[in-house]
């Protein structure tokens, strides 16, 4: 079963908002064994929405649409769908009851504008949106001799990410499964470190060429590492056979490239860190200057972080480096905040004061301002402390703040993984 995605909204097309909806929707569809064969972003413009609908119906069985359902004048999706299906808007009782319920719960009075939320095309099936006032509409395409869209489906959902996600999980994906049945898709990810994409490709070429036709291989270079993804796809009943094929392929890869494989089915370096610390039963603390909390945030974004993460200090000012981490004022005066001496004291201070087995620290000039001839923007020191040992490393990046922070985090995780592997 093939699906396409249309995300509607000027804010997406001008780049004001990153389109996370598309990836959330794709993940849910793929996990349910459906194939996403395209995702389209269009503005709040009738002709563009109409065109996208036609194109998506041509190439897929189900078209999942988000956005443009608000009560304000810039939201036109319902009108476009009405024209597209040659239908008319009417006030749907069920939708009105839902809007009223949500307004009552918040203690707001229902205005005429809000009441418009309950107007939907007469030809659609309503899907209840428990957590929002915008409607969710399911359209079944009739047989028509001018096209081959008969039996296909268009679903229009709100663009608010958590409303969309809840609707997809509880209503839309289950209904699509019933309607279309689904393929089996088995994915396996291998995390690789210490070898470049092209070198790995050379190394494993004979293995890659010998893969069965049902398995597709992808190289996904990511921050600080490379992910190899094996995907096997087949009919709904073929899952066990496909899983066997994947397992056999992975087993055959280890003798060739096993020394570079650092983890299976881990999505990112922070996941690898979490996996290793939990396996060793060790704890971690963070001391961050230039990364400003990003290290702690990446760990605590994952459930279960309290198993291995004690906490951290964001030591943005020198005052906090001294007060909260015990960095010596003499060291700061003699070597500056961005120095090997300071970063080592930060890591050691965090480890001792927060009572962790390991600690990591960062200090640097993230930019775009704050650089000096001696320490230009992009100069970063990182450290890892554990047992009686502290290692520090100097990094030199460019002048982009977000990238410098991201790369510093990746370098810290890579160093920590190496350190833990050696000491645990």
């Amino acid at each position: 079963m093939k699906a396409t995605i249309i995300n509607i909204g000027d804010e997406l097309l001008i780049g004001q908002v990153v389109n996370t909806n598309a990836s959330v929707m794709s993940r849910l569809l793929v996990a349910a064994g459906m194939e996403v064969c395209g995702a389209w972003v269009v503005g709040d413009e009738a002709a563009a929405i109409d065109r996208a609908l036609r194109r998506c119906l041509d190439i897929s069985d189900a078209v999942l649409v988000t956005g443009g359902l608000g009560p304000t004048k810039d939201d036109i999706t319902k009108r476009v769908l009405c024209d597209f299906f040659d239908s008319e808007l009417y006030e749907n009782e069920e939708a009105l009851a839902n809007v009223k319920r949500l307004f009552d719960a918040r203690g707001y009075e229902l205005t005429p504008v809000n009441r418009r939320q309950a107007w939907v095309p007469r030809c659609c099936t309503m899907v209840n949106n428990e957590v929002g006032t915008a409607p969710c509409m399911w359209f079944d395409l009739p047989e028509d001799e001018d096209d081959d869209w008969g039996g296909k489906v268009v679903v229009s959902m709100p663009g608010v990410p958590f409303e969309m996600q809840r609707l997809m999980e509880t209503e839309i994906v289950p209904r699509l499964r019933v309607r279309f049945g689904t393929d089996s898709i088995i994915n396996k990810n291998l995390l690789v470190q210490g070898i470049g994409e092209s070198f790995l490709s050379d190394l494993i070429e004979p293995w890659e060429l010998a893969l069965p036709a049902s398995i597709r291989l992808a190289y996904l270079p990511q921050a600080g590492m490379l992910k190899l993804r094996l995907t096997a796809r087949g009919g709904g009943s073929e899952a066990p056979r496909l899983r066997q094929q994947i397992d056999a392929a992975v087993a055959a890869l280890y003798p060739i490239a096993g020394q570079y494989i650092v983890g299976e089915d881990l999505e990112s370096l922070p996941e690898l860190v979490a996996y290793m610390l939990k396996r060793c039963g060790k704890t971690l603390a963070t001391a961050e200057s230039c990364t400003g909390g990003a290290l702690a945030q990446q760990l605590t974004a994952m459930a279960g972080a309290s198993d291995y993460f004690k906490g951290g200090v964001v030591a943005y000012s020198n005052e906090v480096k001294e007060r909260a981490l015990g960095v010596s004022p003499d060291v700061l005066a003699a070597h500056g905040a961005v120095s090997e001496q300071t970063v080592c004291q930060m890591a050691e201070g965090a480890r001792q004061r927060l009572g962790a087995d390991y600690a990591v620290a960062t200090t640097g000039v993230a930019g775009p301002g704050g650089g000096t001839p001696e320490k230009p923007v992009g100069t970063v020191w990182i450290a890892v402390a554990g047992g009686s040992r502290t290692v520090a490393k100097l990094l030199k990046f460019g002048d982009r703040r977000a990238q410098n922070i991201e790369r510093t985090c990746n370098a810290v995780w890579s160093e920590l993984v190496r350190f833990v592997r050696e000491t645990c």
Copy 2:
């Protein structure tokens, strides 16, 4: 001038990677006065890429493509472009020199696989990619009686975000400007708090209906606030007139809805916080349990955070709450980590120990595990401390970790904005 975007990559279609490239590209194009009329994500599949190219050429002047340029077998963009333009691949000297330069710089030996990076379609103009080995290719569409693509442009860039961004900024956008000339687009954002989208829409309807035809209004509900975006668009020489129109429209809005407008041209709540703290000359510290560093990370993601942000403590364990923030063991024993008493002591401890004018604190059960009947998942306490006053607030969310962290951050920023406005 109209542009479209095609991002190629199976990792995007299965939702493994969020497509940030599209929003970065859109922002750069829009800032240069170009209109983005669609963005398409397709997999590494020849027919899908070919179809997307045709459709994008039908509706736009320039088609900007990313991805699928790696040296491995799953990357097929160059082959598809060759077929599309009826051209052939050859080893380009300039591209080979670039690949060699980058391999030399890293001290790697050039393998046959890497050498493939320098093979490009004969009909393209090479654009040098200073920071990566993948080529950037510019294709001019010839006049042809079968289509009206003559004079249009296709550009193929690497999908690696920083390579793409650098190419867009330094090469592609400037070249597109020269080629097509550009419209004037003036954007103005107003940050609104304290009124719902539909109520605001009712309130300002007469003003909205009186806007000149050149101005488009959009309502952008965002976490914890609403953004009103006015966009004026006209010819390349019309910028001054459009700016006057926007200024007049904004001036006319203040008498109607001024009490809800909290900032102009600010993109987010953290930006509003930064703006207010800098204006008052005050400093902030953070004490985070359930947000795990996200508050600090959001502030320090913005350049210049050291002007007002002293630092923070990520007090994930009780031990760190006691050691680093001075929360009393008795309070933790009597009321638990997720309590009004604890969150107030966290905020006060951070303010005093880190030496800031204001401090914010969070403690809660982010989930999905860790809930109790008394304090279920989604129970969160937040506090703001400043002067001799500390205010705390209980929040109750659902069971989604990422959403609970995000909403807690937004609630903290909203409370802090209110607190600072009252006390500064």
